[in-house]
């Protein structure tokens, strides 16, 4: 169908984050990546098996409630409220229920790793590097620990950047490449999860 796909992942969440909302201001960052996915006969790189999933019951836990068609912006949606933790936001701002999202990832991510390995007929040992969506360090540490991935096989890229949403995986892959963490012939597992809820994973042979 296509030999060259240019995938653009661009996020400017800061436009939606209320400056006095610590629950999201401390987590997210603006970022962008342009990824060329290309097919060449005889090329060693392969994109392998995928798993996908969505669950709409999580929609309300990570959302900008107002601004599109279901709830257009208005004077009411712009009214600021203060939550129990002292964070300020309106319906025009990004809202995230951290504990709920965390629960969701603890449920879904280990199972997705298992089902992707089963689908690809691989074991954990066959994967050279796991590159997960770089959501936040606490969540990634918890997931790594729960799934039982050794630290040296689990890529963390949160030192100097926040959660850049759809750009985290391509940015992490670029950084991993630059650091020599990905070499020719390595087998990677890429795994994203979050808003929606939605999640997907794939195997890449580099």
């Amino acid at each position: 169908m296509a030999k060259n796909v240019l995938l653009l992942t661009v996020e400017t969440y800061t436009k939606y984050i209320h400056p006095k909302d610590k629950s999201v201001r401390t987590i997210f960052g603006d970022g962008a990546a342009a990824t060329l996915v290309t097919h060449e006969e005889g090329d060693p790189c392969k994109i392998g098996e995928f798993v996908f999933g969505t669950d709409g019951k999580g929609a309300k836990n990570l959302i900008v409630p107002a601004g599109a068609m279901a709830m257009p912006k208005s004077e009411e949606t712009a009214e600021e409220r203060v939550d129990e933790q002292g964070n300020v936001r309106s319906l025009n701002n990004l809202y995230m229920n951290g504990p709920e999202i965390f629960n969701f990832t603890l449920d879904i991510v280990p199972d997705t790793v298992k089902s992707l390995l089963a689908k690809a007929k691989l074991s954990m040992d066959d994967i050279d590097l796991f590159v997960f969506h770089q959501a936040n360090k606490f969540m990634l540490d918890s997931l790594r620990d729960k799934i039982g991935i050794p630290e040296e096989k689990f890529y963390l890229d949160m030192e100097d950047k926040g959660n850049t949403v759809s750009a985290t995986i391509p940015i992490a892959m670029k950084d991993a490449l630059d650091e020599g963490r990905i070499r020719r012939g390595d087998r990677l597992m890429l795994l994203g999860f979050g808003v929606g809820y939605s999640w997907a994973g794939c195997i890449v042979e580099w």
């Binding site: 629950s23 504990p99 965390f102 629960n103 603890l106 449920d107 606490f138 620990d145 729960k146």
Partner: protein
């Protein structure tokens, strides 16, 4: 697992000294009881007791005893 060990696990999750915690300690009186503490407790209960806190459970956590209660349930189930 005895009470001392459980309090130690909670203290680790909350990033406080174990001596600072008693079952009757009110969570909101701890400076460390913030959104990160909540997810740390979720992670601790999931890892050590295979217990998952539901939204209503999280809201109803007011004292250390409330957290301990979740640590008991799983043990009862396991035995």
């Amino acid at each position: 697992m005895d009470l001392k060990d459980k309090l130690s696990l909670i203290a680790q999750a909350l990033d406080v000294e174990p001596e600072a915690l008693k079952p009757e300690t009110k969570l909101e009186e701890l400076e460390e009881w913030d959104s990160l503490a909540v997810v740390s407790v979720i992670a601790m209960l999931d890892k050590h007791f295979s217990v998952r806190l539901k939204p209503n459970d999280i809201k109803s956590l007011t004292t250390v005893e409330d957290i301990l209660a979740h640590m008991k349930e799983k043990e009862a189930e396991r035995s």
